[in-house]
C-alpha cells in the first residue's frame, strides 16, 4: 500500500511555499502525491523525519544538523534539499518600547534594555521556538549586541511559535525570538513591541529549508519533483499583487487548506514594515548558502566540535536548490 508523500510543517507564514505547491497542485504536476502534516512543535517535525512518519519537512538548519548528529537521540542523516526563505524572525518584548523603534546596539541598547527590564520587574523570561533554532542564535546575538548575557541576565524558555501569544497574555513570558507572523501578531495585538530581529542581527540569513532524510535524498525523481514544484510555488510569492490573496489563503482553517494564521500579520510579513520583519522567499540563483555564521555560533555554544563544524559546513554549503544540477539533467 502506498501512501502520499508526507511533508511536515508548522503554523508559520514562511511555510507558504509548501502550502502553495500543495494546494495549487504543483507537486501533483510533477507526479508527487503529497500530504501536509501540520505539526504542533519542532520536536515532532524532527522525530517525524527520524522515525519515518514524515518524508520531508520544513526546518531550520541547526535542528536538522543536530538531529543528523544524533544529539536528539537516534542518529539519522537529514539533508537540505532546497532553501525556502531568508530572515523573518522577530525579537519582541512585552509592554511598551522605552525607545523609538528598533533598539540600537552597544551601550545605548543596554540602557534601553535596563529601562525595559525595570518595567518587567523580574529576570526577563524570553522564549525561543526550539533550543536548536536560528531563533536561539539570533536572540543570543541580539542580546550580545546590547551587552546582555543570555545565560545570566535572562531566562530562556522553549515554546512552539503560535504559543507565544497566549504566553504573553498570561504573563508567562516577557518576550522572545519567534518566526513569522507570530511576533507581528503580538505587536498588532499590543502585547509586545519589535526590538530587533533577523534584519538587525544577521540580515538575510538563511531560515527555512526543505529537509529530507537520506533515503529520500537518494531518490532523484522525488527530489527533482520537490525542487521543481517549490520553484514554481516561489513565483506567486514574489509578485507583490498576490500578497493579500496569499495572506488570505494562509488565514483559512486547516480544514480549508489554510494554516489558521492571523491574516493581517501574515500580510505584513510578506512586505515587511516597522512591526514586521520581511520574509524573503528564495529565488533561483547559482549562489551557495552561507551557514558559516550559525556553525561558528554552534561551535561557540559547544553544541558541536571543530570536526563536526567543518563537516557540516561542507555538507550544508549548498546551492539554493540542493539537488546537484547534474542529477536533475540526467532525469530531464
Amino acid at each position: 500500500m502506498t501512501r502520499p508523500f508526507r511533508i511536515g510543517l508548522l503554523r508559520l507564514s514562511d511555510s507558504a511555499p509548501v502550502m502553495i505547491a500543495h494546494n495549487t497542485g504543483f507537486f501533483a504536476q510533477y507526479g508527487l502525491e503529497t500530504e501536509l502534516v501540520v505539526s504542533p512543535s519542532w520536536a515532532n517535525i524532527a522525530d517525524g523525519l527520524v522515525w519515518k512518519t514524515l518524508d520531508a519537512a520544513i526546518m531550520f538548519a541547526p535542528l536538522a544538523m543536530m538531529t543528523s548528529l544524533g544529539r536528539r537521540g537516534h542518529m539519522s542523516a537529514l539533508k537540505p534539499l532546497k532553501t525556502l526563505s531568508y530572515g523573518g524572525n522577530t525579537v519582541i518584548l512585552r509592554g511598551n518600547n522605552p525607545f523609538t523603534g528598533l533598539w540600537p546596539a552597544g551601550e545605548e541598547g543596554r540602557e534601553v534594555f535596563e529601562k525595559w527590564r525595570a518595567t518587567i520587574g523580574r529576570r526577563p523570561k524570553l522564549s525561543v521556538v526550539h533550543m536548536y533554532s536560528t531563533h536561539f542564535l539570533i536572540l543570543k546575538r541580539f542580546l550580545l549586541s546590547i551587552g546582555v548575557n543570555m545565560e545570566h541576565d535572562v531566562e530562556i524558555q522553549v515554546m512552539p511559535p503560535p504559543d507565544i501569544i497566549q504566553a504573553l497574555i498570561e504573563g508567562a513570558v516577557d518576550g522572545g525570538c519567534v518566526g513569522p507572523p507570530w511576533g507581528t501578531e503580538a505587536c498588532l495585538r499590543g502585547l509586545a513591541f519589535l526590538a530587533g530581529g533577523s534584519e538587525t542581527v544577521m540580515p538575510h540569513h538563511i531560515e527555512k529549508q526543505l529537509v529530507v532524510p537520506e533515503t529520500v535524498y537518494g531518490n532523484q525523481h522525488t527530489c527533482h519533483a520537490l525542487v521543481r514544484a517549490l520553484e514554481d510555488a516561489m513565483i506567486p510569492l514574489h509578485a507583490p499583487e498576490n500578497r493579500r490573496a496569499i495572506a488570505h489563503d494562509l488565514s483559512r482553517s486547516l480544514e480549508k487548506k489554510g494554516l489558521n494564521l492571523p491574516q493581517e500579520a501574515t500580510f505584513r510579513t510578506l512586505s515587511g514594515d516597522k512591526i514586521a520583519e520581511k520574509t524573503y522567499y528564495a529565488r533561483s540563483s547559482g549562489e551557495t548558502e552561507n551557514v558559516t555564521w550559525m556553525l561558528d555560533d554552534m561551535l561557540g555554544l559547544d553544541w558541536i566540535n571543530k570536526k563536526e563544524h567543518d563537516a557540516l559546513k561542507a555538507e550544508w554549503t549548498i546551492p539554493v536548490s540542493g539537488v546537484p544540477s547534474t542529477k536533475v539533467e540526467v532525469l530531464k
Binding site: 512543535s41 519515518k52 512518519t53 537521540g73 526550539h130 530562556i156 524558555q157 522553549v158 512552539p160
Partner: protein, 205 residues
C-alpha cells in the same frame, strides 16, 4: 489486562504521565498503577511539562506527542546546567527500531533521566503504545460510526424526495436506489447524493 511489568525489589520508578487527553491520561495512569514498583503521577491540567518535571522529579516521562510543550524537554540538555538537576532526554532504543517507529507512529514517546536503563523504560513505553493504539482504534471506530449515521441521513433524505416526486412508497424508493447502485457499481449513498444534487439543480431557477 495482563501485567507487563516484572516485580522489582528496587526503589519504585517515578513515572510522570503527560497526556493532553484527560481520559487517556487516566487510563494510562490506572494501567501503570497496577504495578506496585511504579509511582505514577500525571501532569496537572494547566501546568507546563517542564514545570511538572521540576516538581515531580520523574525517572520516566511518558509524553503525548500532541503536547506542544514537549519541546521544552527536548532542550533540557542544551540549556544551562541549573535548568534541571537530573537531565532527561528523549528515550531511544537503538536496538529496537521497530518499537521506536511504532511509538512515534502511535504518537507517544518517552523522556528519561539519562542513566535510566532501557529495561525499566521499554515496558512502560510498550504499555503506553498499546493504550494509545486502543484509543486510536476507538476513535477510528467512532469516526466510522459517525460516517455511517451521516450516510443514512443522506439516503433517507433522498428516499423521501424520491417518494414525493415519484409517488412511491419507501420500499419502492429504496429498491430504485439499490438498483441504480448495482447497475453503476456505486454505493447507495453515492447515488443518493447524486439524486439530491440533481434535484437541487432542477429546483434552482
Amino acid at each position: 489486562m495482563d501485567k507487563p511489568f516484572a516485580p522489582s525489589a528496587r526503589a519504585p520508578i517515578n513515572v510522570l504521565v503527560a497526556d493532553a487527553n484527560p481520559r487517556r491520561a487516566k487510563a494510562l495512569s490506572d494501567t501503570l498503577r497496577a504495578d506496585s514498583s511504579l509511582h505514577v503521577q500525571s501532569v496537572p491540567v494547566g501546568m507546563s511539562l517542564i514545570d511538572a518535571v521540576h516538581q515531580y522529579y520523574p525517572d520516566v516521562v511518558l509524553v503525548d506527542m500532541a503536547r506542544a510543550d514537549r519541546d521544552a524537554l527536548d532542550s533540557v540538555r542544551a540549556l544551562s546546567a541549573p535548568a534541571l538537576e537530573r537531565p532527561i532526554a528523549l528515550f531511544v532504543d537503538e536496538d529496537d527500531v521497530n518499537l521506536m517507529e511504532t511509538a512515534f507512529d502511535t504518537g507517544v514517546c518517552s523522556y528519561n533521566v539519562l542513566d535510566a536503563p532501557p529495561d525499566d523504560v521499554k515496558p512502560l513505553l510498550r504499555a503506553a503504545i498499546a493504550l494509545y493504539a486502543r484509543f486510536q482504534r476507538t476513535r477510528a471506530e467512532l469516526n466510522a460510526a459517525q460516517q455511517e449515521i451521516e450516510e443514512r441521513k443522506i439516503i433517507d433524505q433522498a428516499k423521501k424526495l424520491f417518494m414525493k416526486n415519484e409517488k412511491t412508497n419507501e420500499m419502492q424508493a429504496y429498491r430504485w436506489f439499490r438498483g441504480r447502485a448495482m447497475q453503476t457499481s456505486q454505493r447507495i449513498v453515492t447515488i443518493a447524493m447524486q439524486y439530491l444534487a440533481a434535484q437541487q439543480k432542477s429546483d434552482s431557477p
